[in-house]
Amino acid sequence: MNRSTDHVLVAGPTGPIEAALADLTATAPARLRPAVLIQVGLADAYARIDSPIGPLTVAWNGRGVSVVDAAEDDATFETRHRTVTGREAFATDALPPRLADAIARRLGGDRRVRIDLDLRGHSPFERDVWRKALEIPRGEVRPYGWVAAEIGRPRAVRAVGTALGHNPVPLIVPCHRVVRTDGSIGQYSLGGPGNKRTILRSEGLDPEGLEAQAAAGIRYTGSDTTRIVCLPTCRHARRTTDAHRVSFRSAQAATEAGYRPCRVCRPDSGAARAA
């Protein structure tokens, strides 16, 4: 085949067709690498969301949400994110719409909506604690001792507190719904106890009322019609009218009075230590 025809010269390629083809290489867009790493979970994307305690930063990757943090600026967030996950984080404008919607619905109390979480690198004990916290409904609280008993580690109350303090995805895993066994609100990883109260209030609870109740020695509430005893914030306990409400200082006292524990809030979990 004759390559150097007049037409080829007129058309202007500097060399044969093969050379023109070799010049067709392209550079991948800069966002390709982060996009791949984020999708496979070797890096995270992050964006801001609104919450009852102000703007929060949420990090996620193809495996799920990895971090929720109240950092004031990107640099602080990225440093904290790297400490927790060991991964690079890339800023984005907004959460993917489906994830944003799922988080909004979950924070609004819809527990049916599924949010994948990426909790790699955390211990099985921590994940057990967080999974248990996920079971606590909006508008209710459980003591640390209850979580410890429910995960089969009744003596690990302090470790439960530590694990909740290390919860990388507060609000989504509602560690704010776990309070001290003596009924006081306790610490909170997302900016301290003040924020914990604000969030609980936004969920329809009266934290000060609860603490006053606990200070008065009321740890359990029963109904003299059903003769069932509950933790005070259990939705069944809250249905009981004042006329029929009976208070107990311990689960043992309730049992002795002939009350059986509620099967929903299981007030006997961790009761031995609480008593």
Partner: protein, 199 residues
């Protein structure tokens, strides 16, 4: 030991720690192949992104011995070509594109319009590349794939044959046929240009 052999050894040793190096080493190649096969930068970006994600998920299921013995170049090429093929089919059926993660501060996809201040020789080279990419797009996909792998990506015939899953002789014939068709297009373009100039 060439770069890919070293990469394969590293991936076999620690996939998560080494995967980014694989992306960095092959992203321009895969993007180029996808761009020349699909013609559209956005589609090419999605196809090459998807190819790496599939590669990672596959590697995560392979044992170390299998990864160490892999021919990464050809393997990644096969993945991206398959995705270009299914994307082409889906596009014809008007399917929705997958969701992508836009990263803030990332530059826009491929420079094209924003080249007004480029010197004339740069602009001319760009125009020339556009013309060739247009001609490539007109090739039947079978020839286009063979030509892209052999002459744009620079794979050897045995590598291209392995990546395409076709006999080497077939690939050679397809490359030659593709080049012949490109020459015909080039000649037609030149004729048209000449006619315009003399009209």
């Amino acid at each position: 030991m060439d770069t890919d052999d070293r990469l394969a050894a590293d991936l076999a040793h620690d996939l998560d720690r080494s995967f980014e190096a694989l992306v960095v080493a092959h992203q321009d190649r895969l993007y180029t192949i996808a761009l020349r096969m699909l013609g559209d930068p956005r589609d090419a970006e999605e196809a090459s992104q998807d190819a790496f994600v599939r590669a990672y998920r596959a590697l995560a299921t392979y044992d170390a011995t299998r990864i160490r013995e892999m021919r990464l170049r050809g393997w990644l090429t096969t993945i991206v070509l398959n995705l270009c093929r299914t994307r082409g089919v889906r596009r014809a059926g008007q399917g929705a594109p997958p969701i992508s993660l836009d990263v803030e501060g990332a530059p826009t996809i491929e420079p094209s319009a924003a080249r007004t201040e480029a010197p004339p020789e740069v602009a001319e080279r760009h125009a020339e590349r556009e013309r060739w990419s247009g001609r490539l797009a007109e090739l039947p996909p079978v020839y286009r794939a063979a030509v892209v792998l052999r002459h744009v990506d620079g794979l050897s015939y045995p590598e291209a044959a392995a990546a395409l899953g076709r006999p080497e002789g077939t690939v050679k014939a397809q490359v030659h046929r593709g080049i012949a068709l490109l020459r015909t297009m080039l000649e037609a373009d030149a004729r048209n240009e000449l006619e315009e100039m003399t009209a």
